[in-house]
């Protein structure tokens, strides 16, 4: 009897630390990053063995020498990451962040070129237009999903292409937007560019603060409001949210519209950034390529576990690795190899997060069945030790599970 109560005490103590959600998410993310780096290093070893060590070192630390750029490039992927993560909270896989981003970019640029507004107001209107563009491009797949039950993955992939080709066509056929002999957009007027933070040789600007503010706002919406409650409930269990009388259709449309608006903001932030050379601006080349920042958003969201706060950090991390990658060129690595390394790191980072989700789910199901079958105490013990062996033991336990379900 005495023994039992003692072990129970221990259990609670351990659980307090390891059981907290933030802790397990954080450790999982670190683990994922580590695994990504290991595989990235292997790729560098294969490509050019003698340079691998300094190369990976450059990837890891290069960003520290260009912190302003890290922040600058983190902003758009923070927004697309939020666009993916927010929808994912509701169980929607918004793979269309690229299209929404491109649409947002176009709307913002259009306002930049053709709206004649005073300085100080112009860029704000451009940002708002970018949000509107993305919103529309998220809304349409949302409507299809809600009213016709068309899978949002399929629609949003299609909308990536439709958005990209439309925008490329519109840009090339709109006089005043496109410089044909340079095959890129014209320079935006200075009034349309976002206020710079004044760091030399860097485009870092006020948008990072807006992005972080939006992430915090989303965090509040998700954790404090009835809308967030409904959204997460639907994401966890669609059937139960229907049973509880939640308006699933409205929520799907709303979520996709918000997600689209977030990605659209990303597009606006990326292209309304101020240029360090007076008289120029960030430009877009309509070369029929789907914006990679949209897909990077998926990696950002996965690494950040779809949590708005987590996404702030994961976007900075991925941007950091990307900046570091450019430094690796100094060690003779080609652009393509660096891209491969970065992709491998991102891929594995995201991949392990997915694996962790799968493992967590399997573990939960296992615990669940054990708890139902054997009472609370035993399962509490089981939840303390979570070695992989336990997860592997699950199929063996199917009989027990069956009994639990009776």
């Amino acid at each position: 009897m005495h023994n039992e109560s003692l072990s129970k005490k221990n259990v609670f103590h351990l659980k307090k630390i390891t059981g907290s959600k933030a802790f397990s998410t954080f450790t999982a993310a670190l683990l994922a990053i580590l695994l990504g780096l290991v595989f990235g290093f292997i790729v560098m070893l294969i490509a050019s063995p003698p340079n691998a060590v300094p190369g990976i070192f450059a990837v890891l630390t290069g960003g520290f020498r260009r912190i302003a750029d890290v922040i600058y490039y983190a902003t758009p992927i923070m927004m697309t990451g939020l666009a993916v993560g927010f929808a994912f909270k509701m169980g929607l896989f918004n793979i269309g962040a690229s299209g929404q981003y491109t649409m947002g970019m176009f709307f913002a640029m259009y306002a930049g070129f053709f709206f004649n507004l005073p300085r100080g107001l112009h860029w704000i209107v451009c940002v708002a237009m970018g949000m509107l563009g993305g919103l529309l491009w998220g809304l349409i797949p949302g409507v299809f999903k809600a009213l016709l039950n068309v899978n949002e993955v399929i629609t949003s992939i299609m909308f990536n292409y439709i958005g990209m080709f439309l925008v490329d066509m519109w840009i090339q056929t709109t006089p005043g937007m496109y410089v044909a002999d340079k095959a890129r957009t014209a320079y935006l007027p200075a009034s349309a560019q976002m206020p710079s933070l004044g760091i030399p040789n860097s485009g870092v600007n006020i948008s990072i603060f807006i992005a972080i503010a939006i992430a915090i706002l989303l965090f509040i919406v998700l954790s404090k409001t009835t809308f967030g409650y409904e959204l997460k409930a639907t994401g966890y269990n669609r059937h139960a949210s229907t049973y509880a009388g939640m308006n699933g259709k409205r929520n799907i449309i709303l979520t996709m519209a918000i997600a689209g608006a977030l990605a659209g903001l990303g597009g606006a932030f990326a292209f309304l950034a101020p240029s360090s050379i007076p008289g120029s601006s960030v430009t877009y080349e309509p070369i029929n390529v789907i914006a990679p920042n949209g897909f990077n958003g998926i990696a950002v969201a996965l690494l950040g576990n779809s949590s708005p706060i987590g996404i702030i950090f994961s976007s900075v991390f991925i941007s950091h690795i990307q900046r570091g990658g450019t430094q690796a060129r100094l060690f003779g690595y080609e652009y393509e190899i660096i891209d491969v390394v970065i992709s491998v790191i991102i891929y594995f980072s995201a991949f392990v997060m997915l694996m962790q989700e799968v493992a967590k789910k399997a573990l939960r199901q296992l615990l669940d069945s054990l708890k139902r079958s054997f009472g609370k105490k035993g399962a509490e013990k089981a939840s303390d030790a979570q070695p992989a062996a336990e997860i592997m033991a699950e199929p063996e336990l199917s009989e027990v599970e069956k009994e639990g379900q009776k």
Binding site: K224, T225, T226, F227, Y229, K232, A233, Y236, N237, H239, A240, S241, T242, Y243, A244, G245, M246, N247, R364, L367, D368, L370, K371, R372, S373, F374, G375, K376, G378, A379, E380, K381, A382, S383, A385, A389, E390, A393, E396, L397, E399, V400, K402, E403, G404, Q405, K406
Partner: protein, 515 residues
């Protein structure tokens, strides 16, 4: 006496990571006896039988057959030792015939060609000997569940098994089929076969078993002779305390009509026909109406239509005088409907939410719990604390426990608490005690009766006959999507109810005077 045991499982211990599923359990099966294995959910019955059938290996302890130690590494070993099992979920190939299913895995062949005739003769012999009539050429998908069970039994006989394990065989059967099965089991015992009968239904044990071994939380509580024991003692052994079986309730005092259903039809999700056909009935305040019937006769669809999860194809539903046939779920809830759903994990709970978040699932939008769209966490916490206290919902960390980690009984209690505490006129409860043990069943039944006594209309759908007979004030029997009879639990018998449920009997339209 000692040598009479055909199978002995001695001091079996099986540990799963973190839990002892079987703790030093001993089970001795005599030749020619029917030995019941009784225990609550999760007591370790299935684990023990899985060890005997070779699905798991025991960590310690030994199995003896006729006094000799044997090693059972897989079901084939078990088969070779003459051990056969009828699983709770049948293992049959739906698109094969009965004959093909029985011979599957042990087919007589000649030069690689199947010898169906040989197999057929062999099966016919068993079928006649034990009165197990089946149509050998019918496809499994076309025959009833009771028939499918016979096929499973014939499979064991075909393999010359002499030790037969039945895992909860009566759960899917009608009363008549249960009687038939009991007779078959007795016949087996008479002819020298030994039977292990897993169940948690005490009546069946009293009716058919010779001895009974009771497990509780993985431990062996004891083995008793059925002749020398009572139902009460068995349940005390199983649960560890006294349990009352009959529901204590006063006579119903029905008031005005709360729910009124007229000519309701609901489409089937599987077939092109209607799953519910032209159903009409009323439920009044202060009465418990049970819809009895075998699973799959349209009950689920009926409830889906009542609660708004599915659109009816015809007819009207009126709740408290309001036509709610096409109302949204939220609207029905506001009009006064509470719903304890059939599948608590699919519909009733958000397993990854905390207990408090689940307790406000039907009410989070009310002013009490939100202010301009912001959740009032303090109100939610104090409300949850009150319900947890009042309904005795047990969990690891109180209001902040993740519901997934709670036991099934407490999950169900949480739903019951939420639905009963909500302002309601009508309670629709589907299988409210499914999968729960005797103690939790007793509790839920008490709550349902007190809800009725508080003047609510209660509509229960149940597949458990005992539950239907015990708790209802009025019984409606559903068969193939129609209500085929209205019975008074005080005057009817389980047998009569069974006849209605199996479609053998139905009331004339005149008796059902709703138009």
């Amino acid at each position: 006496m000692e040598d009479n045991y055909i199978i002995e499982m001695l001091n079996i211990t099986k540990v799963f990571p973190g839990i002892v599923a079987n703790d030093n359990v001993t089970l001795r099966l005599k030749k020619g006896e029917i030995h019941a294995l009784l225990g609550e959910n999760g007591a370790g019955k299935s684990t023990l039988m899985s060890i005997l059938f070779g699905l798991y290996q025991a960590d310690s302890g030994e199995i003896r057959k006729n006094g000799k130690v044997v090693k059972i590494n897989n079901p084939n070993d078990a088969n070779a030792l003459g051990i056969g099992m009828v699983h709770q979920h049948f293992k049959l190939v739906e698109i094969f015939t009965v004959l093909e299913n029985i011979m599957l895995g042990d087919e007589p062949t000649k030069l690689g060609f199947l010898q169906r005739k040989q197999a057929r003769e062999r099966i016919m012999k068993f079928s006649q000997q034990y009165g197990l009539e089946v149509n050998l050429d019918a496809l499994i998908e076309d025959i009833s569940v009771g028939m499918q069970q016979r096929v499973e039994i014939l499979k064991m006989l075909y393999r010359d098994n002499e030790i037969l394990i039945f895992d909860e065989p009566t759960a899917v059967l009608t009363p008549q089929e249960i009687d038939d099965l009991m007779e078959i089991m007795r016949e087996f015992a008479r002819s020298g076969k030994s039977i292990i009968f897993i169940t948690h239904k005490l009546n069946e044990i009293m009716a058919v078993a010779d001895r009974c071994t009771v497990l509780r939380k993985g431990k062996c509580v004891g083995t008793v002779n059925i002749k020398d024991t009572t139902k009460e003692e068995l349940s005390r052994m199983m649960v560890g305390r006294d349990v009352s079986f009959s529901v204590n309730k006063a006579d119903a005092n029905p008031g005005e009509v709360v729910l009124s259903v007229r000519n309701l039809s609901v489409p089937s999700s599987i077939h092109k026909t209607n799953a519910v056909r032209n159903v009409s009935f009323d439920v009044r305040a202060g009465e418990i109406v049970c819809i009895a019937g075998i699973d799959g006769n349209g009950q689920t669809e009926l409830v889906y239509a009542l609660t708004g999860l599915e659109r009816p194809s015809g007819g009207t539903i009126t709740l408290c005088g309001r036509d709610i046939t096409r109302a949204s779920i939220r609207n029905r809830s506001k009009t006064g409907m509470s719903h304890i759903p059939e599948d608590r994990q699919k519909h009733g709970l958000i397993l990854d939410y905390t207990l408090e978040e689940n307790l406000v699932l039907q009410r989070y939008w009310q002013p009490e719990f939100q202010n301009k769209g912001f959740i009032r966490f303090d109100a939610m916490r104090s409300y949850a604390t009150r319900l947890i206290d009042q309904y005795d919902i047990r969990s690891g960390q109180g209001p902040v426990t993740i519901v997934r980690s709670m036991s099934g009984g407490n999950q169900q209690k949480a739903i019951v608490a939420r639905e009963l505490d909500k302002d309601h006129k009508l309670l629709v409860a589907v299988q409210p005690t499914r999968g729960l043990d005797v103690g939790a069943i007793e509790y839920i039944h008490r709550q349902l009766v007190s809800d009725r006594d508080a003047g609510k209309a209660v509509l229960i759908v149940s597949f458990e006959l005992d539950e239907v007979m015990d708790i209802s004030d009025r019984i409606l029997v559903m068969y193939e999507g129609e209500i085929v009879g209205e019975l008074d639990p005080k005057t009817t018998t389980v047998q009569e109810l069974g006849l209605y449920m199996s479609g053998a009997k139905r009331s004339t339209v005149k008796e059902m005077s709703y138009a």
